[in-house]
C-alpha cells in the first residue's frame, strides 16, 4: 500500500498516459511530457525557496503547504536562514508531478516552450493565486487555459480518448480508489450526476435517441476531468455542501458552454471561471481544509 493518496494518483495518471500513448492516436510527443515534468518540478522548487525565504513572516498558515509526513531535521543546522528554510522543507514533488501528468494527458502543443509556459503558470499559480494560504485555481487547468489563451500553439483534443467502455471502467475504478482515499468522491458524483441529468433533459427535449446521450457522456476526456481534475482537494471548497453546490454549478456552466456556446473546451473554461468561487464558498461554509496528510487533522483555518 502506498502511503499517500497522491502516489496512487501519480500511478494512475502515468498508466493512462502510457495507455494513451500506446493505443490512441495522439499527437503527444515524449519531449513535451519531459518538459512538463521538468518545468513543474523546477517551478515548484524555485517558488518553494522564494516562499520559504520571504514567507517566513507570512501568515501562520504557511505550514499547510508543506507535506506533512516529514519533520524538519535541518532546523538546527548552522546555515543561512534562506537555505536553512529550503533544507528544512523537502521538495514537494508529488503535486507538481500530478500537475505535469495532467497537462501531458490533456494539453497538446506544437512547440515545447508552450508546454513549459503551461507548466510554469500551473505551478506558479499555486504560490501566487492564493487566499489565506489556499490556492484556488486548479493548477493544471489554469495551465491549460493559459496555453490556450496566451499562445497560438496549443489545443485540447476532447475526442481522442474515444468512447470505449473499458476505458471508462479503468478511469472510474482508478479514480474511485484515489477519491476514496482523498474523500472527495462527492464532488465527482455531484458533477457527473448533474451533468448527466442536464444532458438527459436536453436529449429528451430535442428528441434524440438515447444513444446520443450515452455517446456524449462516455467521453474518456470528460471522465478523466471529472475523476482527476475537478476533484483536486486543495483547490475546491472545503465543506461538503459547498462542494456539492460548486460541482452543480460546474456541471451547469459546462453544459451551457458546450451546448450554447459550442466550446469544445467547455469543462476547462467552466472550472477556470468557477475556481475563484472557492474562496467565497469557504467563507460561507467554514470547514476543515483538506490537507494531504493522512493522520494529522487540523483546526479550521478561516476565522
Amino acid at each position: 500500500m502506498l502511503r499517500d493518496a497522491r502516489d496512487y494518483q501519480i500511478l494512475f495518471l502515468s498508466l493512462f498516459l502510457l495507455l494513451g500513448l500506446a493505443t490512441r492516436d495522439w499527437t503527444l510527443k515524449p519531449a513535451a511530457i519531459g518538459v512538463a515534468i521538468a518545468t513543474c518540478l523546477l517551478t515548484q522548487f524555485i517558488f518553494s525557496i522564494i516562499d520559504s525565504r520571504w514567507g517566513t513572516a507570512a501568515p501562520a498558515t504557511a505550514d499547510l503547504k508543506l507535506p506533512a509526513t516529514v519533520l524538519s531535521p535541518a532546523r538546527s543546522l548552522p546555515v543561512m536562514p534562506g537555505l536553512r528554510a529550503v533544507a528544512s522543507q523537502p521538495l514537494n514533488w508529488r503535486s507538481p508531478l500530478i500537475s505535469a501528468l495532467g497537462l501531458s494527458l490533456l494539453l497538446r502543443v506544437d512547440h515545447l516552450p508552450t508546454m513549459a509556459l503551461a507548466a510554469f503558470v500551473a505551478i506558479a499559480s499555486k504560490f501566487i493565486c492564493k487566499v489565506e494560504g489556499k490556492h484556488f485555481f486548479n493548477p493544471a487547468n489554469l495551465g491549460i487555459i493559459a496555453a490556450l489563451t496566451l499562445t497560438h500553439d496549443a489545443w485540447v483534443s476532447p475526442g481522442q480518448w474515444g468512447e470505449e467502455v473499458w476505458y471508462a471502467l479503468i478511469f472510474i475504478g482508478a479514480g474511485g480508489m484515489v477519491l476514496k482515499r482523498v474523500g472527495r468522491w462527492d464532488t465527482t458524483a455531484a458533477f457527473l450526476g448533474s451533468y448527466a441529468l442536464l444532458e438527459a433533459g436536453r436529449n429528451l427535449y430535442l428528441g434524440w435517441t438515447w444513444d446520443v446521450w450515452l455517446h456524449r457522456l462516455s467521453s474518456g476526456s470528460l471522465l478523466l476531468f471529472a475523476l482527476f481534475m475537478v476533484t483536486d482537494p486543495r483547490s475546491i471548497p472545503n465543506a461538503r455542501p459547498a462542494r456539492l453546490i460548486w460541482a452543480l454549478s460546474l456541471a451547469g456552466l459546462t453544459f451551457i458552454l458546450r451546448n450554447y456556446f459550442y466550446l469544445s473546451t467547455a469543462v476547462f473554461w467552466a472550472l477556470f471561471l468557477l475556481s475563484p468561487l472557492t474562496i467565497l464558498f469557504d467563507r460561507l461554509w467554514q470547514s476543515e481544509r483538506f490537507n494531504w496528510k493522512v493522520f494529522a487533522p487540523r483546526k479550521p483555518i478561516v476565522s
Binding site: 490512441r24 492516436d25 499527437t27 497538446r108 506544437d110 497560438h152 500553439d153 496549443a154 489545443w155 483534443s157 476532447p158 475526442g159 481522442q160 480518448w161 474515444g162 468512447e163 470505449e164 427535449y205 430535442l206 428528441g207 434524440w208 435517441t209 444513444d211 446520443v212 450515452l214 455517446h215 456524449r216 467521453s219 456556446f261 459550442y262 469544445s264
Partner: protein, 457 residues
C-alpha cells in the same frame, strides 16, 4: 550518393471504383430526396468546409446519378441564408482537392549496387481521384408552423430556406410541396427544429439546368456565420442500410481539424509494400481502409491528409492556385495573392459512418497542430540487373529478406493471404549470379586485416 529516382504514382480513378463499393443509401448532411421512388445510391459524399473564425463556406459536391428532375435535398443549416449566401460552384474544384490530397503510392528505384552513384529526383504525378457522391432519397410535400424565410433561384437550383416550429409541421409542409420524404423524417427533424436550425431545401429548375448545358448537377455552396462547426449526418442515415462514406476537405488558416466527439485516427502510412501493388493500388487502399475501419471498431474518422496548401511532398497534383482555393470557399485569401502566401491548411478526413456507431452529428474543431501527414505507400523497386561486384552480391542476398518484410507488411495491412503475396514477389534467385563466393571475400579481407598486424609485430 544514390542514384535515386522517385516517381510516384497517384491514386487513381481505380480507387474510386474500388474503394467505395459499399452500397449506401442516403447522403451526408441531409437527405437528398427524389420526387419519385427511384432508388439512387451514393458511394461517397464529398464536402469542402472552409472556415476561419465563425465564418464558414460549405461546399456540397453533387454526384447525384438519378433523374435530375427528381433531385432535391434538405440540409439543416445554422442561420437563415439569403440569396447572396448561396452559390453554385465548379465541380472541378472538388476533383482538384481530391486529387491533391488523395492517398498516394510512391515509387523508388534501387540503384545498380555496382555503379558509381549519382542522385537525382524525378517526380511525376498522376491524377488521383476517388469517390463519387450520389445519393438516393425521396422527396415530397409540405406543411404547418413553417416559415419560408427566403426563396430564390441560384444557377440550376431553386432554393427555399425554411424555419419550423415543430417537426411535424415541417414534415407536412415538405409533403404538401411535393417532396416525398422518408417515413420517420419528423422524428429525426425534431432535434434540428428544436435546436433552432433552419432548413436549406434545394431542387433543380429543369429549364435552367438545360440552359447551363452541364451534364451533371454542380456543387452547392453556402456561406454562413455561426460558432457551430459541425456537419449533420443523422438525417442522411435515416433509411441507410449500411455504412456511408464521407470525405471532408477542411480548409482552415491555422492547422489541422479534428473531430471533438469521435476519435480522429491517422490512416496507416509510410509502409513499404511489394511493387506488384502498383497495378492494383485502388484495391490495396480500399482493402486496407476496410481493415483499419474494422480494427478501430468502425467508430473513428480517418485522417488521410493534413498539410499546408502552400506545398506538398510528393505532390499528387499541382497545388491549388489562390484562385482555385477561393473557388473552394477560402474567403480569407486575397484574389491575387501569391501561392506561397496562402495561409491555408487542408485536412482530409474520411469518415465511414453507420447508424449504430455514429449516433451524433460530426463536431469539428480547428487545432493549431501543424504536423504534416499523408497517406503514403512506398514501392522500392529492386535493381534486378546483373550483379558484377561483391556489393552487388550482398545486395542480392539482402533482397529476399526485404521482399519478405514487404510481403508481411502488405498482409498485415490488407489481410491478404501471405502465401499468395509471396508467390507474386519478384524472383531474385534465377538472376542470382555471384561472382565472388562468400569464402573468397572472407579470406581476402582476413589477409588484408592481418597484414598490418604482422608488419607491426
Amino acid at each position: 550518393m544514390t542514384k535515386y529516382r522517385s516517381i510516384w504514382t497517384g491514386l487513381l480513378g481505380a480507387i474510386a471504383a474500388l474503394l467505395f463499393l459499399t452500397p449506401t443509401a442516403l447522403a451526408f448532411c441531409g437527405f437528398y430526396v427524389a420526387k419519385a421512388d427511384t432508388s439512387l445510391y451514393n458511394e461517397a459524399s464529398q464536402v469542402i468546409i472552409a472556415r476561419n473564425g465563425d465564418r464558414t463556406v460549405l461546399t456540397m459536391a453533387n454526384d447525384y446519378q438519378g433523374e435530375v428532375a427528381d433531385f432535391a435535398m434538405v440540409v439543416p443549416v445554422p442561420t437563415v441564408l439569403q440569396e447572396g449566401q448561396v452559390n453554385v460552384g465548379d465541380p472541378a474544384i472538388v476533383q482538384r482537392l481530391d486529387d491533391f490530397s488523395a492517398p498516394r503510392l510512391v515509387e523508388y528505384f534501387d540503384p545498380d549496387p555496382c555503379e558509381p552513384m549519382m542522385m537525382f529526383d524525378e517526380a511525376e504525378a498522376l491524377p488521383a481521384a476517388p469517390q463519387a457522391t450520389t445519393t438516393r432519397g425521396r422527396a415530397a410535400d409540405g406543411a404547418l408552423g413553417v416559415t419560408v424565410e427566403a426563396q430564390f433561384a441560384v444557377g440550376e437550383y431553386d432554393i427555399v430556406i425554411l424555419s419550423a416550429e415543430e417537426s411535424d409541421g415541417l414534415e407536412t409542409w415538405l409533403i404538401q410541396n411535393g417532396y416525398q420524404i422518408p417515413t420517420g423524417a419528423s422524428e429525426l427533424l425534431q432535434p434540428y427544429v428544436r435546436q433552432g436550425l433552419k432548413f436549406f431545401v434545394a431542387k433543380v429548375n429543369l429549364e435552367e439546368f438545360d440552359r447551363t448545358g452541364f451534364q451533371q448537377l454542380r456543387p452547392l455552396q453556402i456561406a454562413y456565420e455561426s460558432p457551430r462547426f459541425m456537419l449533420p449526418i443523422r438525417l442522411g442515415m435515416m433509411n441507410a442500410q449500411g455504412a456511408q462514406d464521407l470525405v471532408a476537405y477542411l480548409l482552415t488558416p491555422d492547422g489541422q481539424v479534428e473531430l471533438t466527439n469521435y476519435r480522429t485516427v491517422k490512416i496507416p502510412s509510410n509502409a513499404n509494400i511489394p511493387s506488384f501493388v502498383e497495378a492494383e493500388f485502388g484495391e490495396f487502399y480500399g482493402t486496407m481502409f476496410d481493415r483499419s475501419y474494422e480494427r478501430e471498431n468502425k467508430e473513428v474518422a480517418f485522417l488521410e491528409y493534413a498539410w499546408s496548401m502552400a506545398g506538398c511532398d510528393p505532390c499528387s497534383a499541382d497545388p491549388l492556385s489562390p484562385e482555385e482555393l477561393r473557388q473552394a470557399g477560402v474567403f480569407w485569401l486575397a484574389p491575387n495573392s501569391s501561392i506561397w502566401d496562402t495561409n491555408v491548411y487542408v485536412t482530409r478526413l474520411h469518415v465511414r459512418y453507420s447508424r449504430d456507431k455514429f449516433p451524433e452529428d460530426l463536431m469539428f474543431q480547428q487545432t493549431n497542430n501543424l504536423e504534416f501527414f499523408q497517406g503514403r505507400y512506398v514501392m522500392q523497386q529492386p535493381f534486378l540487373g546483373e550483379a558484377t561486384c561483391s556489393a552487388g552480391a550482398d545486395y542480392r542476398r539482402s533482397l529476399p529478406t526485404r521482399f519478405e518484410q514487404e510481403a508481411q507488411t502488405l498482409a498485415r495491412l490488407t489481410g491478404w493471404d501471405i502465401n499468395d503475396i509471396r508467390r507474386r514477389l519478384p524472383d531474385v534467385r534465377e538472376a542470382n549470379f555471384d561472382p565472388n563466393p562468400w569464402w573468397e571475400d572472407l579470406w581476402q579481407r582476413s589477409s588484408q586485416l592481418l597484414s598490418p598486424v604482422v608488419h607491426q609485430g
